[in-house]
Protein backbone atom coordinates (compact mmCIF):
# COMPACT_ATOMS: atom_id res chain seq x y z
CA UNK A 1 0.00 0.00 0.00
CA UNK A 2 3.02 2.26 -0.14
CA UNK A 3 4.49 4.71 2.29
CA UNK A 4 2.54 5.76 5.36
CA UNK A 5 4.11 9.22 5.53
CA UNK A 6 0.86 10.65 4.20
CA UNK A 7 -0.44 10.32 7.75
CA UNK A 8 1.62 13.41 8.62
CA UNK A 9 -0.29 15.40 6.00
CA UNK A 10 -3.64 14.28 7.30
CA UNK A 11 -2.58 14.92 10.90
CA UNK A 12 -1.70 18.49 9.88
CA UNK A 13 -5.10 18.87 8.21
CA UNK A 14 -6.82 17.46 11.29
CA UNK A 15 -5.09 19.96 13.57
CA UNK A 16 -5.98 22.80 11.20
CA UNK A 17 -9.61 21.67 11.07
CA UNK A 18 -9.79 21.20 14.81
CA UNK A 19 -8.43 24.66 15.61
CA UNK A 20 -10.61 26.21 12.93
CA UNK A 21 -13.77 24.61 14.30
CA UNK A 22 -12.84 25.51 17.87
CA UNK A 23 -12.47 29.13 16.79
CA UNK A 24 -15.66 29.03 14.73
CA UNK A 25 -17.94 27.16 17.08
CA UNK A 26 -16.47 28.24 20.41
CA UNK A 27 -15.57 26.25 23.52
CA UNK A 28 -19.17 25.28 24.24
CA UNK A 29 -19.35 23.05 21.20
CA UNK A 30 -18.99 19.50 22.56
CA UNK A 31 -15.61 17.93 21.89
CA UNK A 32 -16.90 14.78 20.11
CA UNK A 33 -18.72 16.87 17.48
CA UNK A 34 -15.56 18.87 16.82
CA UNK A 35 -13.49 15.69 16.59
CA UNK A 36 -15.72 14.03 13.98
CA UNK A 37 -15.96 17.22 11.92
CA UNK A 38 -12.29 18.21 12.13
CA UNK A 39 -10.96 15.78 9.47
CA UNK A 40 -13.44 17.02 6.87
CA UNK A 41 -12.99 20.67 7.80
CA UNK A 42 -9.20 20.32 7.77
CA UNK A 43 -9.15 18.54 4.41
CA UNK A 44 -11.44 21.18 2.95
CA UNK A 45 -8.97 23.86 4.05
CA UNK A 46 -5.95 21.87 2.83
CA UNK A 47 -7.51 21.23 -0.57
CA UNK A 48 -8.48 24.87 -0.79
CA UNK A 49 -4.87 25.91 -0.15
CA UNK A 50 -3.59 23.50 -2.81
CA UNK A 51 -6.21 24.62 -5.32
CA UNK A 52 -5.43 28.26 -4.61
CA UNK A 53 -1.77 27.58 -5.47
CA UNK A 54 -2.75 25.94 -8.73
CA UNK A 55 -5.14 28.70 -9.69
CA UNK A 56 -2.74 31.50 -8.83
CA UNK A 57 0.62 30.09 -9.92
CA UNK A 58 -0.13 26.88 -11.83
CA UNK A 59 2.13 25.02 -9.41
CA UNK A 60 2.00 23.58 -5.94
CA UNK A 61 4.74 22.32 -3.71
CA UNK A 62 5.11 20.70 -0.32
CA UNK A 63 7.13 23.60 1.08
CA UNK A 64 4.70 26.27 -0.01
CA UNK A 65 1.76 24.17 1.17
CA UNK A 66 3.29 23.76 4.62
CA UNK A 67 3.94 27.48 4.88
CA UNK A 68 0.35 28.23 3.85
CA UNK A 69 -0.97 25.77 6.41
CA UNK A 70 1.15 27.41 9.08
CA UNK A 71 0.03 30.89 8.10
CA UNK A 72 -3.62 29.88 8.09
CA UNK A 73 -3.29 28.20 11.48
CA UNK A 74 -1.64 31.33 12.86
CA UNK A 75 -4.38 33.52 11.40
CA UNK A 76 -7.06 31.35 12.96
CA UNK A 77 -5.45 31.63 16.37
CA UNK A 78 -4.91 35.39 16.06
CA UNK A 79 -8.50 35.99 14.96
CA UNK A 80 -9.76 33.83 17.80
CA UNK A 81 -7.75 35.79 20.34
CA UNK A 82 -8.79 39.14 18.85
CA UNK A 83 -12.48 38.44 18.33
CA UNK A 84 -13.21 36.41 21.44
CA UNK A 85 -10.29 36.71 23.88
CA UNK A 86 -12.42 35.42 26.74
CA UNK A 87 -12.80 32.12 24.93
CA UNK A 88 -9.08 31.51 24.76
CA UNK A 89 -8.90 30.35 28.35
CA UNK A 90 -12.46 29.07 28.57
CA UNK A 91 -13.00 25.50 29.57
CA UNK A 92 -13.82 23.27 26.63
CA UNK A 93 -17.02 21.29 26.98
CA UNK A 94 -15.66 17.76 27.26
CA UNK A 95 -18.47 16.17 29.27
CA UNK A 96 -19.44 12.75 28.03
CA UNK A 97 -23.08 12.39 27.00
CA UNK A 98 -25.16 9.39 26.12
CA UNK A 99 -25.00 10.15 22.42
CA UNK A 100 -21.20 10.36 22.59
CA UNK A 101 -21.01 6.73 23.64
CA UNK A 102 -23.60 5.90 20.99
CA UNK A 103 -21.52 7.73 18.40
CA UNK A 104 -18.41 5.78 19.39
CA UNK A 105 -20.36 2.52 19.11
CA UNK A 106 -21.85 3.38 15.71
CA UNK A 107 -18.47 4.56 14.42
CA UNK A 108 -16.90 1.28 15.55
CA UNK A 109 -19.60 -0.71 13.77
CA UNK A 110 -19.22 1.38 10.62
CA UNK A 111 -15.44 0.94 10.76
CA UNK A 112 -15.68 -2.85 11.07
CA UNK A 113 -18.19 -3.09 8.21
CA UNK A 114 -16.09 -0.73 6.11
CA UNK A 115 -12.92 -2.75 6.71
CA UNK A 116 -14.64 -6.04 5.95
CA UNK A 117 -15.51 -4.70 2.52
CA UNK A 118 -12.56 -2.49 1.80
CA UNK A 119 -9.78 -4.89 2.75
CA UNK A 120 -11.01 -7.24 0.04
CA UNK A 121 -10.84 -4.44 -2.49
CA UNK A 122 -8.33 -2.00 -1.01
CA UNK A 123 -8.07 0.03 -4.18
CA UNK A 124 -11.75 0.83 -4.31
CA UNK A 125 -14.44 -0.71 -6.42
CA UNK A 126 -16.13 0.65 -9.51
CA UNK A 127 -14.52 2.22 -12.54
CA UNK A 128 -14.81 5.84 -11.41
CA UNK A 129 -12.46 5.35 -8.47
CA UNK A 130 -9.77 4.75 -11.06
CA UNK A 131 -11.01 6.56 -14.12
CA UNK A 132 -11.95 9.82 -12.39
CA UNK A 133 -10.58 10.39 -8.94
CA UNK A 134 -7.24 8.57 -8.82
CA UNK A 135 -6.49 9.45 -12.42
CA UNK A 136 -6.98 13.14 -11.65
CA UNK A 137 -4.83 12.81 -8.53
CA UNK A 138 -2.03 11.23 -10.55
CA UNK A 139 -2.17 13.99 -13.13
CA UNK A 140 -2.03 16.64 -10.42
CA UNK A 141 0.82 14.85 -8.66
CA UNK A 142 3.04 14.03 -11.64
CA UNK A 143 2.18 16.55 -14.31
CA UNK A 144 4.42 19.44 -15.22
CA UNK A 145 1.30 21.31 -16.26
CA UNK A 146 -1.66 20.58 -14.01
CA UNK A 147 -4.04 21.70 -16.75
CA UNK A 148 -3.28 18.44 -18.55
CA UNK A 149 -6.08 17.16 -16.38
CA UNK A 150 -8.49 19.11 -18.60
CA UNK A 151 -7.28 17.42 -21.78
CA UNK A 152 -10.19 16.47 -24.03
CA UNK A 153 -8.47 13.10 -24.40
CA UNK A 154 -9.51 12.47 -20.81
CA UNK A 155 -13.11 13.47 -21.31
CA UNK A 156 -14.22 10.13 -19.84
CA UNK A 157 -12.91 11.41 -16.51
CA UNK A 158 -15.20 14.48 -16.58
CA UNK A 159 -12.59 17.29 -16.72
CA UNK A 160 -15.03 19.77 -15.20
CA UNK A 161 -15.37 17.86 -11.92
CA UNK A 162 -13.97 19.81 -8.95
CA UNK A 163 -10.74 18.65 -7.34
CA UNK A 164 -11.25 18.37 -3.57
CA UNK A 165 -10.81 14.60 -3.45
CA UNK A 166 -7.85 14.34 -5.88
CA UNK A 167 -6.15 17.22 -4.07
CA UNK A 168 -6.73 15.54 -0.71
CA UNK A 169 -4.93 12.48 -2.09
CA UNK A 170 -2.12 14.60 -3.53
CA UNK A 171 -1.71 16.38 -0.20
CA UNK A 172 -0.98 13.00 1.39
CA UNK A 173 1.27 11.88 -1.46
CA UNK A 174 3.42 15.00 -1.07
CA UNK A 175 4.81 13.48 2.11
CA UNK A 176 5.85 10.04 0.92
CA UNK A 177 4.94 9.49 -2.69
CA UNK A 178 1.90 7.92 -4.23
CA UNK A 179 0.13 5.55 -1.90
CA UNK A 180 -3.11 3.65 -2.39
CA UNK A 181 -3.58 3.77 1.37
CA UNK A 182 -4.28 7.51 1.26
CA UNK A 183 -7.63 7.31 -0.57
CA UNK A 184 -8.45 4.24 1.50
CA UNK A 185 -7.97 6.23 4.70
CA UNK A 186 -9.79 9.27 3.32
CA UNK A 187 -12.84 7.18 2.42
CA UNK A 188 -12.85 5.37 5.73
CA UNK A 189 -12.59 8.65 7.60
CA UNK A 190 -15.52 10.15 5.72
CA UNK A 191 -17.71 7.07 6.16
CA UNK A 192 -17.02 6.56 9.86
CA UNK A 193 -17.11 10.25 10.84
CA UNK A 194 -20.32 10.81 8.90
CA UNK A 195 -21.99 7.99 10.85
CA UNK A 196 -20.69 9.44 14.12
CA UNK A 197 -21.78 12.96 13.23
CA UNK A 198 -25.27 11.67 12.49
CA UNK A 199 -25.57 10.22 16.01
CA UNK A 200 -24.37 13.47 17.57
CA UNK A 201 -26.66 15.67 15.46
CA UNK A 202 -30.01 13.94 15.25
CA UNK A 203 -31.05 14.55 18.85
CA UNK A 204 -33.03 11.94 20.80
CA UNK A 205 -33.14 9.57 17.87
CA UNK A 206 -29.46 10.14 17.12
CA UNK A 207 -28.45 6.59 17.93
CA UNK A 208 -31.22 5.17 15.72
CA UNK A 209 -30.24 7.57 12.92
CA UNK A 210 -26.59 6.52 13.12
CA UNK A 211 -27.53 2.85 13.22
CA UNK A 212 -29.82 3.29 10.22
CA UNK A 213 -26.97 4.90 8.30
CA UNK A 214 -24.43 2.25 9.28
CA UNK A 215 -26.92 -0.54 8.59
CA UNK A 216 -27.57 0.61 5.04
CA UNK A 217 -25.42 -1.56 2.77
CA UNK A 218 -25.10 1.07 0.06
CA UNK A 219 -23.77 3.65 2.52
CA UNK A 220 -20.92 1.44 3.69
CA UNK A 221 -20.40 0.04 0.18
CA UNK A 222 -20.16 3.47 -1.39
CA UNK A 223 -17.70 4.57 1.25
CA UNK A 224 -15.56 1.51 0.55
CA UNK A 225 -15.76 2.17 -3.19
CA UNK A 226 -13.54 5.23 -2.65
CA UNK A 227 -15.77 7.49 -4.73
CA UNK A 228 -16.18 11.18 -3.90
CA UNK A 229 -19.90 10.91 -3.23
CA UNK A 230 -19.39 10.10 0.42
CA UNK A 231 -17.64 13.49 0.81
CA UNK A 232 -20.50 15.29 -0.91
CA UNK A 233 -22.87 13.59 1.51
CA UNK A 234 -20.66 14.58 4.46
CA UNK A 235 -20.43 18.28 3.62
CA UNK A 236 -24.12 18.47 2.72
CA UNK A 237 -25.16 16.87 6.00
CA UNK A 238 -22.88 19.10 8.06
CA UNK A 239 -24.24 22.19 6.29
CA UNK A 240 -27.84 21.09 6.82
CA UNK A 241 -27.29 20.34 10.51
CA UNK A 242 -25.71 23.74 11.16
CA UNK A 243 -28.40 25.45 9.09
CA UNK A 244 -30.98 23.73 11.29
CA UNK A 245 -29.21 24.95 14.41
CA UNK A 246 -28.83 28.45 12.96
CA UNK A 247 -32.54 28.66 12.18
CA UNK A 248 -33.43 27.62 15.71
CA UNK A 249 -30.96 29.87 17.50
CA UNK A 250 -30.24 32.68 15.02
CA UNK A 251 -26.64 32.06 16.04
CA UNK A 252 -23.94 33.58 13.88
CA UNK A 253 -21.48 30.76 14.60
CA UNK A 254 -23.91 28.16 13.30
CA UNK A 255 -24.65 30.25 10.21
CA UNK A 256 -20.94 30.58 9.50
CA UNK A 257 -20.44 26.83 9.97
CA UNK A 258 -23.35 26.08 7.60
CA UNK A 259 -21.80 28.38 5.01
CA UNK A 260 -18.36 26.85 5.48
CA UNK A 261 -19.52 23.27 4.95
CA UNK A 262 -21.92 24.12 2.11
CA UNK A 263 -19.11 26.04 0.42
CA UNK A 264 -16.63 23.20 0.95
CA UNK A 265 -19.06 20.86 -0.80
CA UNK A 266 -18.71 23.00 -3.94
CA UNK A 267 -15.11 21.80 -4.22
CA UNK A 268 -16.07 18.12 -4.17
CA UNK A 269 -18.55 17.56 -6.97
CA UNK A 270 -20.91 19.58 -9.12
CA UNK A 271 -23.73 18.25 -6.97
CA UNK A 272 -22.17 20.24 -4.12
CA UNK A 273 -22.85 23.39 -6.13
CA UNK A 274 -26.48 22.32 -6.50
CA UNK A 275 -26.78 21.74 -2.76
CA UNK A 276 -25.22 25.13 -2.07
CA UNK A 277 -27.66 26.85 -4.43
CA UNK A 278 -30.60 25.07 -2.80
CA UNK A 279 -29.51 25.87 0.76
CA UNK A 280 -28.75 29.50 -0.11
CA UNK A 281 -32.14 29.89 -1.80
CA UNK A 282 -33.99 28.42 1.19
CA UNK A 283 -31.89 30.51 3.57
CA UNK A 284 -32.76 33.73 1.77
CA UNK A 285 -36.44 33.09 2.46
CA UNK A 286 -36.22 31.44 5.85
CA UNK A 287 -33.14 32.30 7.80
CA UNK A 288 -31.43 35.24 9.41
CA UNK A 289 -27.68 35.78 9.24
CA UNK A 290 -27.74 35.60 5.46
CA UNK A 291 -24.48 37.53 5.17
CA UNK A 292 -22.73 35.04 7.47
CA UNK A 293 -23.73 32.15 5.22
CA UNK A 294 -22.42 33.95 2.15
CA UNK A 295 -19.18 35.17 3.78
CA UNK A 296 -18.21 31.74 5.11
CA UNK A 297 -18.86 30.04 1.81
CA UNK A 298 -17.43 32.74 -0.43
CA UNK A 299 -13.78 31.56 -0.62
CA UNK A 300 -14.87 28.08 -1.67
CA UNK A 301 -17.47 29.30 -4.12
CA UNK A 302 -14.98 31.71 -5.72
CA UNK A 303 -12.39 28.92 -5.91
CA UNK A 304 -14.95 26.59 -7.48
CA UNK A 305 -15.93 29.22 -10.06
CA UNK A 306 -12.27 30.05 -10.83
CA UNK A 307 -11.68 26.34 -11.28
CA UNK A 308 -14.58 26.14 -13.71
CA UNK A 309 -13.10 29.00 -15.69
CA UNK A 310 -9.65 27.38 -15.66
CA UNK A 311 -11.14 24.10 -16.79
CA UNK A 312 -12.87 25.82 -19.68
CA UNK A 313 -14.34 22.51 -20.69
CA UNK A 314 -18.05 22.21 -21.29
CA UNK A 315 -19.99 19.90 -19.05
CA UNK A 316 -20.68 16.54 -20.64
CA UNK A 317 -23.90 16.30 -18.70
CA UNK A 318 -25.56 19.67 -19.20
CA UNK A 319 -25.62 21.80 -22.33
CA UNK A 320 -28.06 24.33 -23.75
CA UNK A 321 -28.20 22.36 -26.97
CA UNK A 322 -29.35 19.26 -25.10
CA UNK A 323 -31.94 21.24 -23.12
CA UNK A 324 -33.32 22.84 -26.27
CA UNK A 325 -33.33 19.49 -28.02
CA UNK A 326 -35.26 17.77 -25.24
CA UNK A 327 -37.76 20.63 -25.01
CA UNK A 328 -38.40 20.44 -28.72
CA UNK A 329 -38.55 16.65 -28.81
CA UNK A 330 -41.91 16.31 -27.08
CA UNK A 331 -40.59 13.32 -25.15
CA UNK A 332 -40.19 14.97 -21.77
CA UNK A 333 -43.12 13.06 -20.28
CA UNK A 334 -41.68 9.75 -21.34
CA UNK A 335 -38.24 10.71 -20.03
CA UNK A 336 -39.75 11.76 -16.70
CA UNK A 337 -41.43 8.37 -16.56
CA UNK A 338 -38.13 6.62 -17.14
CA UNK A 339 -36.49 8.58 -14.29
CA UNK A 340 -39.41 7.91 -11.95
CA UNK A 341 -39.40 4.24 -12.90
CA UNK A 342 -35.71 4.03 -12.21
CA UNK A 343 -36.22 5.61 -8.79
CA UNK A 344 -38.87 3.02 -7.92
CA UNK A 345 -36.62 0.24 -9.16
CA UNK A 346 -33.70 1.57 -7.10
CA UNK A 347 -35.52 1.97 -3.78
CA UNK A 348 -36.76 -1.61 -4.02
CA UNK A 349 -33.17 -2.89 -3.98
CA UNK A 350 -33.09 -4.26 -0.47
CA UNK A 351 -29.44 -5.27 -0.86
CA UNK A 352 -28.61 -1.59 -1.25
CA UNK A 353 -31.10 0.36 0.82
CA UNK A 354 -32.89 -2.30 2.86
CA UNK A 355 -36.30 -0.68 3.58
CA UNK A 356 -35.01 2.80 4.41
CA UNK A 357 -36.92 4.64 1.68
CA UNK A 358 -40.14 2.92 2.76
CA UNK A 359 -39.45 4.05 6.30
CA UNK A 360 -39.12 7.66 5.12
CA UNK A 361 -42.33 7.31 3.10
CA UNK A 362 -44.18 5.87 6.10
CA UNK A 363 -43.03 8.67 8.39
CA UNK A 364 -44.04 11.26 5.80
CA UNK A 365 -47.49 9.77 5.21
CA UNK A 366 -48.25 9.25 8.90
CA UNK A 367 -46.79 12.55 10.14
CA UNK A 368 -47.20 14.88 7.16
CA UNK A 369 -48.94 17.58 9.20
CA UNK A 370 -46.21 17.72 11.83
CA UNK A 371 -43.40 17.50 9.29
CA UNK A 372 -44.85 20.35 7.25
CA UNK A 373 -45.25 22.73 10.17
CA UNK A 374 -43.44 26.04 10.10
CA UNK A 375 -40.40 24.80 12.03
CA UNK A 376 -39.74 21.76 9.85
CA UNK A 377 -41.09 22.55 6.41
CA UNK A 378 -37.91 24.23 5.21
CA UNK A 379 -35.96 21.01 5.76
CA UNK A 380 -38.35 19.10 3.54
CA UNK A 381 -38.07 22.03 1.14
CA UNK A 382 -34.31 21.47 0.90
CA UNK A 383 -34.85 17.77 0.21
CA UNK A 384 -37.55 18.51 -2.37
CA UNK A 385 -35.53 21.17 -4.19
CA UNK A 386 -32.42 19.01 -4.18
CA UNK A 387 -34.30 15.98 -5.48
CA UNK A 388 -36.03 18.22 -8.04
CA UNK A 389 -32.65 19.53 -9.17
CA UNK A 390 -31.34 16.02 -9.71
CA UNK A 391 -34.55 15.11 -11.52
CA UNK A 392 -34.15 18.04 -13.92
CA UNK A 393 -30.51 17.12 -14.59
CA UNK A 394 -31.62 13.64 -15.63
CA UNK A 395 -34.54 15.01 -17.62
CA UNK A 396 -32.30 17.26 -19.69
CA UNK A 397 -29.06 15.31 -19.61
CA UNK A 398 -26.87 15.47 -22.69
CA UNK A 399 -25.88 11.85 -22.08
CA UNK A 400 -28.03 8.89 -22.97
CA UNK A 401 -30.70 8.82 -20.26
CA UNK A 402 -30.49 5.09 -19.54
CA UNK A 403 -26.71 5.16 -19.44
CA UNK A 404 -26.70 8.23 -17.20
CA UNK A 405 -29.16 6.63 -14.79
CA UNK A 406 -27.36 3.30 -14.69
CA UNK A 407 -23.99 4.88 -13.99
CA UNK A 408 -24.98 7.49 -11.44
CA UNK A 409 -28.41 7.12 -9.88
CA UNK A 410 -27.43 5.04 -6.86
CA UNK A 411 -24.62 7.47 -6.08
CA UNK A 412 -26.92 10.47 -6.35
CA UNK A 413 -29.24 8.78 -3.86
CA UNK A 414 -26.27 8.18 -1.57
CA UNK A 415 -25.50 11.90 -1.54
CA UNK A 416 -28.97 12.75 -0.27
CA UNK A 417 -29.57 9.66 1.84
CA UNK A 418 -27.92 11.02 5.03
CA UNK A 419 -30.00 14.20 4.63
CA UNK A 420 -33.18 12.11 4.55
CA UNK A 421 -32.03 10.14 7.61
CA UNK A 422 -31.36 13.37 9.49
CA UNK A 423 -34.60 15.13 8.48
CA UNK A 424 -36.84 12.14 9.20
CA UNK A 425 -35.19 11.10 12.46
CA UNK A 426 -34.53 14.47 14.04
CA UNK A 427 -38.08 15.75 13.56
CA UNK A 428 -41.57 14.45 14.27
CA UNK A 429 -42.50 11.87 15.43
CA UNK A 430 -39.22 11.45 17.29
CA UNK A 431 -39.06 14.94 18.77
CA UNK A 432 -42.74 14.70 19.65
CA UNK A 433 -42.07 11.45 21.50
CA UNK A 434 -39.25 13.12 23.35
CA UNK A 435 -41.47 15.99 24.46
CA UNK A 436 -44.16 13.62 25.71
CA UNK A 437 -41.70 11.97 28.01
Amino acid sequence: MGSWHFLAAYAASFILGWRFLRALLGPREPLPAVLVLAPAAGLALSSFLLLAQLLMSDQMSLGRSLVLHGVLLGLIEVIRLRVAPAEAGAKVDSRLRGNDIGAAAVMSIAAVLFLARALKSPYGTGLDAWAIWKLKARFLFYAENWKDVFSPILDFSHPDYPLFYPLAMVWGWFFGGESAAAPFLLSMTATVCLAGFMVLSAGRAGLAAGLLLAATPHFIGSGASQYADIWTAFFSLAALVFADRAFRSDGIREALAAGFFAGAGCLVKNEGLLFYAVLAAVWMFRGKRRIALIVASLPFVIAALCFKMAAATPSHILSWEAVRGHLASGHLGARAGVVAGYFVQEVFKENAWVYAWFFFAAVFVLYARELLNAANAWRLGVLALLSGGYFLVYLFTALGLEMHLVTSFDRILLQIFPLFVYVFLSGPPFTEAARER
Partner: protein, 143 residues
Protein backbone atom coordinates in the same frame (compact mmCIF):
# COMPACT_ATOMS: atom_id res chain seq x y z
CA UNK B 1 -54.19 6.00 16.75
CA UNK B 2 -51.07 7.90 17.71
CA UNK B 3 -49.74 4.89 19.52
CA UNK B 4 -50.44 2.65 16.53
CA UNK B 5 -48.66 5.07 14.20
CA UNK B 6 -45.63 5.17 16.46
CA UNK B 7 -45.49 1.41 16.76
CA UNK B 8 -45.70 1.11 12.97
CA UNK B 9 -42.91 3.63 12.39
CA UNK B 10 -40.63 2.23 15.08
CA UNK B 11 -41.23 -1.33 13.87
CA UNK B 12 -40.30 -0.37 10.33
CA UNK B 13 -37.19 1.39 11.62
CA UNK B 14 -36.18 -1.61 13.73
CA UNK B 15 -36.75 -4.05 10.88
CA UNK B 16 -34.78 -1.84 8.49
CA UNK B 17 -31.82 -1.54 10.85
CA UNK B 18 -31.87 -5.22 11.79
CA UNK B 19 -32.23 -6.41 8.23
CA UNK B 20 -29.50 -4.02 7.11
CA UNK B 21 -27.00 -5.37 9.61
CA UNK B 22 -27.96 -8.93 8.74
CA UNK B 23 -27.36 -8.21 5.05
CA UNK B 24 -24.10 -6.45 5.80
CA UNK B 25 -22.98 -9.24 8.10
CA UNK B 26 -23.42 -11.68 5.25
CA UNK B 27 -21.49 -9.41 2.91
CA UNK B 28 -18.73 -9.00 5.49
CA UNK B 29 -18.37 -12.75 5.95
CA UNK B 30 -18.27 -13.24 2.18
CA UNK B 31 -15.58 -10.57 1.93
CA UNK B 32 -13.53 -12.22 4.64
CA UNK B 33 -13.88 -15.56 2.89
CA UNK B 34 -12.62 -14.00 -0.34
CA UNK B 35 -9.63 -12.64 1.50
CA UNK B 36 -8.76 -16.13 2.71
CA UNK B 37 -8.58 -17.49 -0.83
CA UNK B 38 -5.14 -18.75 -1.83
CA UNK B 39 -2.82 -15.85 -2.39
CA UNK B 40 -2.51 -14.68 -5.95
CA UNK B 41 1.06 -14.30 -7.05
CA UNK B 42 1.82 -10.63 -6.62
CA UNK B 43 0.21 -8.88 -9.51
CA UNK B 44 1.34 -11.50 -12.01
CA UNK B 45 -1.27 -10.92 -14.67
CA UNK B 46 -1.29 -7.17 -14.33
CA UNK B 47 2.48 -6.99 -14.28
CA UNK B 48 2.79 -8.58 -17.71
CA UNK B 49 0.39 -6.06 -19.16
CA UNK B 50 2.19 -3.24 -17.46
CA UNK B 51 5.53 -4.47 -18.76
CA UNK B 52 4.11 -4.58 -22.23
CA UNK B 53 3.09 -0.96 -22.12
CA UNK B 54 6.27 0.18 -20.47
CA UNK B 55 8.34 -1.61 -23.12
CA UNK B 56 6.21 -0.16 -25.83
CA UNK B 57 6.34 3.42 -24.62
CA UNK B 58 9.27 3.50 -22.22
CA UNK B 59 11.53 5.50 -24.48
CA UNK B 60 8.88 7.67 -25.99
CA UNK B 61 8.02 11.21 -25.03
CA UNK B 62 4.83 9.86 -23.56
CA UNK B 63 6.62 7.71 -21.00
CA UNK B 64 6.00 10.13 -18.17
CA UNK B 65 2.37 10.36 -19.06
CA UNK B 66 2.18 6.61 -18.80
CA UNK B 67 2.89 7.01 -15.12
CA UNK B 68 -0.43 8.75 -14.78
CA UNK B 69 -2.36 5.80 -16.00
CA UNK B 70 -0.21 2.89 -14.94
CA UNK B 71 -0.21 2.02 -11.30
CA UNK B 72 3.01 2.18 -9.34
CA UNK B 73 1.66 0.46 -6.30
CA UNK B 74 2.94 -2.84 -5.06
CA UNK B 75 0.28 -5.40 -5.74
CA UNK B 76 -0.53 -7.19 -2.50
CA UNK B 77 -0.33 -10.93 -2.20
CA UNK B 78 -3.95 -11.37 -1.37
CA UNK B 79 -6.21 -10.04 -4.04
CA UNK B 80 -9.27 -11.31 -5.72
CA UNK B 81 -8.54 -11.87 -9.41
CA UNK B 82 -11.33 -9.50 -10.34
CA UNK B 83 -9.27 -6.72 -8.85
CA UNK B 84 -7.05 -6.96 -11.88
CA UNK B 85 -9.82 -5.31 -13.82
CA UNK B 86 -8.57 -2.02 -12.47
CA UNK B 87 -5.02 -2.73 -13.45
CA UNK B 88 -5.90 -3.57 -16.99
CA UNK B 89 -7.75 -0.34 -17.30
CA UNK B 90 -4.57 0.93 -18.80
CA UNK B 91 -5.85 -0.78 -21.81
CA UNK B 92 -6.92 2.83 -22.24
CA UNK B 93 -3.31 3.91 -22.21
CA UNK B 94 -2.75 3.69 -25.97
CA UNK B 95 -5.72 5.91 -26.55
CA UNK B 96 -4.57 8.46 -24.03
CA UNK B 97 -0.98 8.52 -25.21
CA UNK B 98 -1.61 8.30 -28.90
CA UNK B 99 -4.86 9.96 -29.73
CA UNK B 100 -3.79 9.94 -33.39
CA UNK B 101 -4.59 6.27 -33.20
CA UNK B 102 -1.41 4.22 -33.57
CA UNK B 103 -2.78 1.64 -31.16
CA UNK B 104 -6.37 2.66 -31.07
CA UNK B 105 -7.40 -0.61 -32.64
CA UNK B 106 -6.11 -2.53 -29.65
CA UNK B 107 -8.28 -3.47 -26.72
CA UNK B 108 -8.14 -5.58 -23.60
CA UNK B 109 -10.36 -8.59 -23.19
CA UNK B 110 -10.74 -9.93 -19.71
CA UNK B 111 -13.83 -11.66 -18.39
CA UNK B 112 -15.25 -13.13 -21.54
CA UNK B 113 -15.61 -16.90 -21.72
CA UNK B 114 -13.37 -18.74 -24.16
CA UNK B 115 -16.27 -19.11 -26.59
CA UNK B 116 -17.27 -15.46 -26.35
CA UNK B 117 -13.70 -14.42 -26.82
CA UNK B 118 -13.20 -16.50 -29.94
CA UNK B 119 -16.40 -15.28 -31.53
CA UNK B 120 -15.38 -11.69 -30.79
CA UNK B 121 -11.96 -12.26 -32.31
CA UNK B 122 -13.53 -13.75 -35.43
CA UNK B 123 -16.25 -11.15 -35.75
CA UNK B 124 -13.92 -8.17 -35.45
CA UNK B 125 -10.89 -9.70 -37.19
CA UNK B 126 -8.74 -9.33 -34.08
CA UNK B 127 -5.48 -11.07 -33.34
CA UNK B 128 -4.03 -11.69 -29.92
CA UNK B 129 -1.01 -9.49 -29.35
CA UNK B 130 -0.34 -10.53 -25.75
CA UNK B 131 -1.93 -13.08 -23.46
CA UNK B 132 -1.62 -13.46 -19.74
CA UNK B 133 -3.81 -15.47 -17.47
CA UNK B 134 -7.35 -14.63 -18.40
CA UNK B 135 -6.36 -11.38 -20.05
CA UNK B 136 -5.58 -10.63 -23.64
CA UNK B 137 -4.54 -7.57 -25.58
CA UNK B 138 -6.08 -7.91 -28.97
CA UNK B 139 -5.55 -5.75 -32.04
CA UNK B 140 -7.20 -5.47 -35.39
CA UNK B 141 -5.39 -7.41 -38.08
CA UNK B 142 -3.45 -5.23 -40.47
CA UNK B 143 -4.32 -5.19 -44.11
Amino acid sequence: MNRAKKILVLSLLAVTIGFGFWKQGKTAFRSMAEMRRPAVEAGADARILKDFFVQRFGKSAGALKLAYVSDRREAPGRRHPLEFFYDVQYGFAPLILHPAGELSDCEVLDFESAGERQSRLDAKSLTVLKESGGLQIVCREEG
